[in-house]
């Protein structure tokens, strides 16, 4: 292989996570000499998507090799051989995401993917219905013979969240009073920014308290509204200031790209696909890519040439560059973490993916929320007694996502409860989901992986002496893509290109485009 040390690089980007890859995209037409390396043999860093056997290898090594992931373990349940559809397909028929995220329609990421033209190389799919699990079955009626009207909005102990005003009106489960309270809240949230007086005093109060006191929203309707926040915290810790913009984002996104849905995801592996096209664009612009190359530790030192930084790679090679951009702030690895599990299921779980609306694209996924306290995990000790457990979120991905073969689906579950109890809570949620779907043969788990996923407590970009060494904070664990990542990328991009006239991530098509987008 050729060596890298002869070149004087302008920018060396270490790691191919989403932020570094978007930076590479942003610099792809800057004329700078860019070297983009990753110590892994795959692209994507924490946002990677891997085939099953690669994911298994990842699980074996990740505990030692990474500050971001820990406690990884794979389980392959023993199955009663009951014929086709019940077994795993070839490992490469899967693409397992480590940080699955929804992208709301108004996310600046989508805007930049369009302005930089790389969206043409991606395929976006609609995120479908939100469902809320209720431990309370008493009002569920006779589950064995639901009326046809209820059938679509109730599935075992799962209730579908109405996706808009019309849905609320047509809902057969809600009574008139509840509907009126909800409509009043929906009118408020449409313009909540202009009506600070209505919620100012509740700012730090739990969102549920605000809903009760201000709008008399009955308890049963608070769970679906909380579900829309995708808050990893328990009900009591989810404040009104946190919740309002998130519920508003959800509602305002619906209809932007088509009827009945407000969020999208990239086919074939979510953010890992965005990473691929971003890196590719940088390569097309002349950037050099090398996998399996990492920095040694410590790897950065000042060079005698004061404008340059010397980097030492793990294989001993030394290279020199003006700028180095890394990710991960090892100093302040903070308390922010999630327990995650990924389960390949032997059923398409089609009942969770009803059509969204007329003329709407078919949904590729669904979101199932298990509110705080809805699962029967016992308190561990006296101290925990009475304290509520955080919710569990499960993203249900159909084979339309390109992440699993037809006839199967993938459940991406997460909770902020740490450690073994977190994993216990996740498996309760997965079981509850599978038993809510009345199918025969009943859906089975074919493969699963669990791990803990950590992030940095501060999201500041750190700049270290020598001044041309920059470190992105590790990406947030939010289940909906957090636009602040783009602010960080823009900031680093600006430092590197300096003050100029270029617009951030605005490019012309490199090739003439024909009759695209019919």
């Amino acid at each position: 292989m050729e060596t890298l040390d002869k070149t004087k690089w302008d920018v060396v980007i270490v790691g191919t996570g989403l932020q570094q890859s978007l930076l590479a995209l942003a610099l792809s037409r800057s004329g700078k000499k860019i070297l983009h390396i990753d110590e892994n043999k795959y692209y994507g860093g924490a946002e990677a998507a891997l085939a099953l056997q690669e994911a298994e290898e990842w699980a074996q090594h990740v505990d030692t090799g990474s500050a971001t992931f820990s406690n990884a373990a794979v389980t392959t349940p023993e199955l009663s051989q009951s014929g086709s559809g019940q077994s795993l397909a070839s490992a490469r028929a899967y693409s397992i995401e480590f940080s699955p995220q929804l992208l709301y329609a108004r996310s600046s990421l989508l805007q930049y993917l369009v302005s930089s033209k790389v969206y043409r190389q991606l395929e976006f799919l609609a995120v479908g219905s939100f469902w809320v699990y209720s431990k309370d079955t008493s009002d569920a009626g006779d589950a064995s013979s639901p009326s046809t009207a209820e059938q679509s909005s109730r599935l075992g102990q799962l209730l579908k969240v109405p996706s808009g005003r019309e849905d609320v009106f047509q809902d057969q489960v809600l009574d008139f009073k509840a509907k009126r309270a909800l409509m009043k809240f929906l009118r408020f949230i449409a313009e909540y920014e202009e009506h600070t007086e209505e919620w100012e005093e509740h700012k730090e109060n739990p969102f549920s308290v605000f809903l009760t006191e201000k709008f008399r929203v009955p308890a049963a309707l608070q769970a679906p509204l909380l579900a829309l926040t995708l808050s990893p915290s328990g009900t009591a810790e989810t404040s009104t200031t946190y919740a309002l913009p998130r519920v508003a984002r959800h509602l305002r996104s619906i209809g932007v790209f088509g009827p009945g849905f407000g969020a999208v995801q990239a086919k074939w592996g979510g953010m890992s696909e965005v990473v691929q096209v971003a890196c590719r664009s940088c390569a097309v612009g002349g950037g050099v890519y090398v996998l399996g190359k990492g920095l040694s530790n410590p790897g950065v030192s000042a060079s005698e040439d004061s404008d340059m930084v010397t980097l030492r790679l793990k294989d001993g090679e030394t290279i020199s560059t003006k700028w180095v951009v890394e990710e991960g702030n090892e100093v302040s690895s903070g308390p922010s973490q999630l327990c995650r599990s990924i389960t390949v299921v032997s059923s398409p779980l089609a009942q969770l993916l009803p059509p969204l609306a007329e003329e709407a694209p078919s949904p590729a996924s669904a979101v199932v929320v298990f509110p705080s306290g809805s699962l029967p995990l016992r308190p561990e000790d006296a101290k925990e007694h009475g304290a509520e457990l955080p919710p569990v979120h499960i993203l249900v991905f159909s084979s339309d996502t390109g992440e699993c073969p037809a006839g199967q689906s993938i459940l991406y579950a997460s909770t902020s409860l740490p450690g073994d109890r977190g994993f216990q809570l996740l498996s309760m949620a997965v079981d509850a989901l599978l038993s809510s779907v009345k199918e025969s043969p009943s859906p089975a788990a074919l493969w699963s992986l669990r791990y803990e996923h950590g992030s940095d407590s501060s999201d500041d970009t750190v700049s270290q002496p020598p001044n041309h060494v920059l470190r992105f904070a590790r990406p947030s664990l939010d289940l909906a893509f957090d636009d602040s990542a783009l602010d960080r990328v823009k900031d680093v991009w600006q430092r590197i290109v300096g003050a100029g006239t270029d617009e951030f991530l605005v490019f012309e098509d490199r090739e003439p485009v024909g009759d695209e987008d019919e």
Partner: protein, 251 residues
């Protein structure tokens, strides 16, 4: 034949096709010939033209190729994974005047079999066929390479095929063809310069993409690869609905 002609109401599917092979074997030239029917002698290895689309009309359906050319970066191999991920077809190219390029091509084939999507259609292509002596002498390549295609009419430009030069072929058709058969690959010898067999390669690939993997409702495909690109699930980011978009996003 490929053309970007009028839209017939035939089912249409996108197929991601990647090009792999040693630098300078003619990958970019093959794409330029296919997409623009153009060839540039001694052009600099481009960095740039790396994502192109071209339609291929078959009797019963239209295939829209999304062609991912490598970006003049073959030397570090690290680019490859992001090119062939989710590809439904691959063109692995060697240069018939350079035996080492066939060895390299064989590495790519092995890599694709190991890492790419199951069911990927691979074509092995020996390019620069115009530099072989028989290219000037007669048109045997088409017959040799494609049993059931009509032999391509003598392409224009054959007169510059260095008829008076020594035969530059260093890879026998037989050798490469036997290898291709063993590995279950489509096989062609082409010339991006004369245009010989170029469209034929793409048409053969289009025909070889299993219909089942292209469409069908969820769960109906049955096959284990979920390569089918379902147009009914696709969200078009280029078209923000005005009633939804009050501010901010896209466009």
């Amino acid at each position: 034949m490929a053309d970007s002609g009028a839209a017939a109401p035939k089912p249409s599917s996108s197929v991601k096709l990647v090009l792999l092979g040693e630098a300078a074997v003619g990958k970019s030239s093959l794409v330029m010939r296919f997409v623009n029917n153009d060839f540039q002698e001694n052009k600099e290895p481009t960095i740039g033209a790396a994502f192109l689309t071209q339609k291929c009309n078959l009797p019963t359906r239209t295939i829209k190729f999304e062609i991912w050319d490598t970006a003049g970066q073959e030397r570090f191999a690290s680019l490859a994974p992001m090119y062939y991920r989710n590809a439904q077809a691959a063109l692995v190219v060697y240069d018939i005047t350079k035996p080492s390029s066939l060895t390299k091509a064989q590495h790519w084939v092995a890599e694709l079999h190991r890492q790419a999507s199951p069911g990927i259609v691979i074509a092995l292509v020996g390019n620069k066929a115009d530099l072989a002596a028989e290219a000037a002498a007669g048109d045997e390549l088409g017959d040799d390479a494609t049993e059931d295609t009509d032999a391509a009419p003598g392409a224009e430009g054959e007169e510059d095929a260095d008829a008076d030069n020594a035969d530059q072929r260093r890879v026998a058709t037989k050798t490469a063809k036997a290898y291709a058969e063993e590995e279950g690959l489509l096989f062609f010898e082409t010339s991006a310069k004369t245009g010989k067999n170029v469209a034929e390669v793409f048409t053969a690939i289009a025909n070889a993409i299993p219909e089942a993997s292209l469409k069908g409702p969820r769960g109906a495909a049955g096959g284990q690869s979920s390569l089918g690109r379902q147009e009914d699930a696709r969200v078009n980011l280029g078209s923000v609905r005005p009633e939804g978009a009050k501010e901010g996003c896209a466009c």
